[in-house]
């Protein structure tokens, strides 16, 4: 087997006569391995400001070009850039078809390759950031920590590996930000397969759509969407890595791909994470004799925080058949187990509570280009998520931070539970893309998702559970979108889209008017429409302007429509939460001479969010109810700047400031609110990252490279509660530094890396009282072999 490094290949150079008058250039860009067309490839005319990008079919067209020889530069996320000369013949359309190869190990124009994710971003009119995950494949990061390096995105963790991780996007989080994997929502994947336990190696690219979401991602998300794009290239390779670090942390990942000439392919990915999370925390000590807390804080090592998860992802299928450009079956199986060390106040400690989860996710994808008619492309994708979660709290003990315990007279450290919950999800996504003529693009997308949930244990949640807890409830949601994009030239394009959201829920509802609850199954439906616009203009090759807007919605959840089946009442008259989301972006990307290049990007965001659905308790009504109330406005700025000195050195950073304030002046009862115009509490509003890389190429041998990396994370302190209420609890400023060294042998086939996180051993908190790990070390070895 002959294994080789990077490859570039030029396919064809065919001049052709298409039309008269002015001369033009055009062609198709594909990937060399799979021969799949590549959309969004940047095509630039060297030495000029002219350029364009390939469309969904990988085709590009540059009109009105001067006759004679031109050099075209093709660049794309994760692909080695291609530079090729072509002759524009007078009065004709000349064709230049190009194929591109994976560029992670590329030796070519590295300056361009390093910037490729940025360039991909530039070609769409959305406020989207694409992170090239492949450049992080030698790190031990998971997807959530990779996301944390993106401007406007903040990861908030409650502890070490496996702890609760919340992604906040321009101040939105939770159900306001939807996460997708390859265009399908990850909601149903279960906690054992989610952003904070999937290694970054599983992703090719991470796309973050801020506020305005293309119709291809069907979701009712107010704040934006994150799409994890896994590798679709068909090739034969082996990628194996293992890392070991502080707190007895082990991570390993094995990825194998096989691609046959007849179009058959298999990708197999297995990974595991394991950690004792035995880092030290400073907190108060409980005296087990008196059940009183010490006035002083002391340092303790975490003793019951083991976490591990394991997953296998298999994808297999065929490509380039007359009946399918791609037909893929996939199957993901994952599980996790977590000891629970503390409550959401650090001083409340556990010694026996645990939680576990597992999930099975079968899926299928079908793609066909030129379906029935030319330029009509179909993509169908479906999956199911079968997830089971267990909560266990059975010890009749009470622990303290020394790991000592006393026996208690009843079971459960917190609340006796052996809860088991089953979630079943299914999603079907259909996407049609049609280009009836040059310059006109239509896309129609429909996403149908449903889930059912069932609790199977009585002891769980005994505080709130009722007979209805154990009744099944289902939720069916459909989001369809239609978009039209007008792309008259490579200099500007504009798109308009509209979306339709529908939800149907079915579940138990309390219909009793007496002290004894009585449940019956009911059904409720809800629907609304949304729309948006996006446009981009490139006055010069270096400068791009973008504007996008969406009227975004979040539909009420089943709890909000139904109540909690005991003492809450749902309300079918609720309005969806809605938001005016506006983005303006300016970016500048330019090279100076052979080695210097800069990239600058500024994004202004405006969000005006209304009709928050809130749970309200009023004594005059007895139980709780849901109502629309609240208006929040956000003016924000995301800045990013980056400088490259050839392949040798780069430094960059991003900075986010968001002025997120409550604009609701009156309370639900009509009283003026003391926190009118207050900054939203418990939301980071000023944060940033700085990173730098220094590479020594051909170090101790040709094809070997030594690189040094630095990453800094800063989060300004913020109030936990409304400032005007006199809140005196703050989440302190965070400043942490990470360092890494990587030595790559033989063009990246063999890698060994050392990482130091939180070098200064700072006490870090994303959430009040919940301390994150101190300094940690990690060593990683990776071997990446592939067939040419």
């Amino acid at each position: 087997m002959h294994l080789s490094g990077k490859f570039l290949c030029l396919l064809m150079l065919l001049p052709a006569t298409v039309c008269a008058n002015a001369q033009s250039l055009g062609g198709t860009v594909t990937d060399c391995e799979g021969r799949q067309p590549l959309a969004g490839v940047s095509v630039r005319i060297a030495g000029t400001s002219g350029g364009t990008a390939t469309d969904a079919n990988g085709q590009y067209h540059i009109g009105n070009i001067g006759a004679g020889l031109h050099t075209l530069e093709f660049s794309f996320v994760g692909m080695a850039s291609v530079r090729k000369e072509v002759k524009a013949e007078r009065g004709r359309q000349s064709v230049l078809n190009v194929c591109m190869d994976e560029g992670a190990l590329g030796l070519g124009e590295i300056v361009v390759a390093a910037k490729s994710p940025v360039q991909h971003v530039r070609e769409t009119s959305f406020n989207v950031i694409a992170l090239d995950a492949k450049v992080l494949h030698n790190t031990s990061l998971d997807l959530s920590h990779a996301l944390d390096r993106i401007s406007g995105v903040k990861l908030r963790e409650t502890g070490g590996m496996g702890s609760n991780a919340q992604i906040s996007l321009n101040g939105f989080s939770g159900r306001h930000v939807k996460v997708f994997m390859d265009g399908l929502p990850m909601e149903g994947f279960g906690s054992s397969f989610r952003l904070n336990n999937i290694p970054v190696q599983l992703a090719d690219r991470i796309e973050v759509y801020k506020g305005v979401i293309p119709v291809e991602l069907g979701a009712d998300a107010l704040g934006g969407a994150i799409n994890i794009v896994t590798s679709h290239r068909r090739r034969t390779y082996v990628d194996a890595s293992y890392s070991y670090g502080s707190f007895n942390t082990h991570k390993s990942n094995l990825s194998v791909g096989l691609a046959a000439k007849n179009g058959f392919f298999v990708r197999f990915n297995a990974y595991q994470n394991y950690s004792d999370n035995s880092y030290r925390v400073k907190t108060r000590l409980l005296n087990l004799e008196t059940n009183s807390y010490s006035a002083e804080e002391y340092w303790f090592r975490r003793f019951h925080d083991n976490y591990h998860n394991e997953a296998v992802v298999v994808k297999a299928g065929v490509a380039e058949k007359p009946w399918a450009d791609r037909l893929q079956f996939e199957f993901t199986v994952s599980r996790e187990k977590q000891d629970i060390q503390n409550a959401n106040l650090m001083k409340i400690v556990y010694g026996g509570r645990e939680r576990s989860g597992r999930s099975l996710i079968p899926g299928i994808t079908y793609e066909k280009r030129n379906l029935l008619v030319e330029n009509l492309n179909l993509r169908l994708a479906a999956n199911a998520g079968l997830a089971r979660n267990n909560n266990t709290d059975t010890l009749a003990r009470q622990y303290n931070w020394r790991g000592e315990y006393r026996a208690k007279g009843f079971k459960g450290e917190g609340q006796y539970a052996m809860g088991e919950y089953d979630n079943r999800n299914a999603t079907l996504a259909a996407n049609l893309h049609y280009r009836p003529a040059e310059k006109h693009h239509f896309a129609l997308n429909n996403l149908l998702g449903g889930f059912s949930r069932k609790a199977t244990d009585a002891a769980a949640n005994s505080e709130t559970s009722t007979a209805a807890t154990f009744m099944r409830r289902t939720n069916l949601k459909n989001v369809s979108g239609l978009s039209y994009r007008f792309e008259p030239s490579g200099y500007w394009n504009a798109a308009a889209f509209c979306k339709r959201y529908d939800v149907m829920v079915r579940g138990p509802i309390n219909v009793s008017a007496t002290s004894t609850a009585s449940y019956e199954e009911q059904e409720r439906t809800f629907g609304t429409n949304g729309y948006g616009l996006a446009a981009t203009y490139r006055p010069t090759a270096s400068l791009q302007l973008k504007a996008s807007y969406e009227k975004a919605y979040r539909l009420p959840s089943e709890n909000e429509l139904f109540g909690d089946e005991s003492l809450e009442t749902g309300d079918a008259a609720l309005r969806p939460e809605n938001s005016h989301n506006l983005n303006l972006n300016v970016s500048y990307d330019r090279s100076f001479g052979k080695v210097h290049s800069v990239y600058l990007d500024a994004g202004l965001i405006y969000r005006d969010t209304r009709d928050y659905i809130r749970r309200q308790i009023e004594q005059r009504y007895g139980g709780a109810y849901y109502t629309n109330h609240g208006r929040v406005r956000n003016y924000g700025i995301d800045l990013e700047a980056r400088y490259f000195y050839g392949r040798r050195f780069s430094v960059g950073g991003n900075f986010t400031y968001q002025d997120i304030r409550n604009m609701e002046r009156y309370g639900i009862g009509g009283r003026e609110l003391i926190y009118y115009k207050d900054r939203m509490p418990n939301v980071p509003y000023l944060f940033g990252n700085v990173d730098a890389n220094y590479n020594l190429h051909d170090c101790f041998g040709k094809g070997n490279a030594l690189s040094f990396g630095y990453n800094m994370r800063y989060v300004h302190s913020f109030f936990r509660d409304w400032e005007s209420e006199g809140g005196d609890i703050i989440i302190p400023r965070q400043l942490s530094h990470d360092l890494d060294v990587l030595y790559s042998l033989r063009d990246g086939r063999y890698n060994i890396g050392l990482e130091v996180r939180n070098v200064a051993d700072e006490m870090l908190y994303d959430n009040y009282s919940l301390q994150k790990p101190g300094r940690s070390f990690l060593i990683k070895a990776r071997c990446f072999l592939y067939k040419q």
Binding site: T290, Q398, K411, A458, E463, L567, Q619, R671, Y768
Partner: protein
Amino acid sequence: MINKTDRKTLSRTIALGCCVCMSLAFAACDKDNNQPEPEKPGAFFLSVTGESAEYILRVDNPESGTASIAGNSKTLELSGYTWIFNEDPSVAVGLIYRQGDPGIGLGYTVAADGALQESGQFQISSRFTSYGFFDRYALTSVGGQTPVDAQGNALLDAGGNARTDAVTFNFIDLRSGFALQEKTITTLNITGNGEQATFSGIVDMGNGEFLTGLVVSQPRDPNATGGASSGTITYPDSVWVAAFDGKLGLKRIYRDNRISYSSGRFRSQYYSQIGKADNGDVYVFSGSYETTSSRPCGALRISKGATAFDPAYYFNIEEKTGGFRFRKVWHISAACFLLELYNDLAVSATGAATQYGVADMSAKTFKWVTGIPAKDKITATGLPAAYGGKMYFPITAQAADPAIYIIDPAAATAVKGLSVTGATGINAIGRLTQ
């Protein structure tokens, strides 16, 4: 404005105009007829709810004016405390239990300079559905618990299901830095009918014993519900009250069948419906929560030191309220109690209760409280404080700042006192002395 003396005179004038028994009733509610207590230096402790947290506020005079939470309050780490106040020693005890997690209890006192100070933090590992003071302790209890053997294994019933008849008490020692001790007892067959009990209310008898109301039921259905710690009520027309000593030894059970069980139910809570009058008599109320009960809501009496219900005393309160039943009961002064009544004649688990009345238990009279917001305007109320013969009652009305209403029990009239701006509600008010 009428001052205190005027109000007294007014009430006496009205009283004189009425029949003899009515004037006795007013006399019984009028603190001024008793020996006036010398006022100790101290301050009012208010727990107020904001939009995002719970705050502690110190107030000198709740009779009038406004206070703002901004800049004057202390934010608590957790919110949703249940506050209870003890006279001697003078402490505020904050109890909290959060679904699935133990809570951090708080003890507050007034320092020599008059400031409120946190004087203890303790962990509450068990739930609590009832609470009060006994001897030197703040006491909480929760029923429906699964008892365990020495190895921590659940005790099983004949059918192999985990038993749920354990009641767990927390003894929080007010004289020893709020040290908390947990004690669990089992209640199976406590009344001799084979059933188990959940406890409701704690009344210190002053002789080393406390009383608690029993909600006697079948075991909680292990496969269905959990919100309540009691199961199906087999005997809704009976009332039981247990007397325990400080070691949780059962001293005796008071039993009767003129009223239903003595407990106000809401979600998982069992609100106290027993209270002690100033003369030491204990009144046992029943809001007749069970729809299966044939007994109207009313009250019985355990005379001071008696070992059985007073057979001669029965007060049919429902008759006096026009059919409205009550959920909560607080002692004001003498033999007068403030009752919180359901807004509708039909009692349901989710029923709203924002009507208030004063019952004079010795005269067997009932009066609706006037001068407070209408029942359909009250969005929240808090724990009231009896002080100087009056009731200081936190009420939040729609579109208004939460305020303290001062209820004069003799006339059952209220005047609006202090308002707290910026707060969404006042959870509790209590007076602490140095």
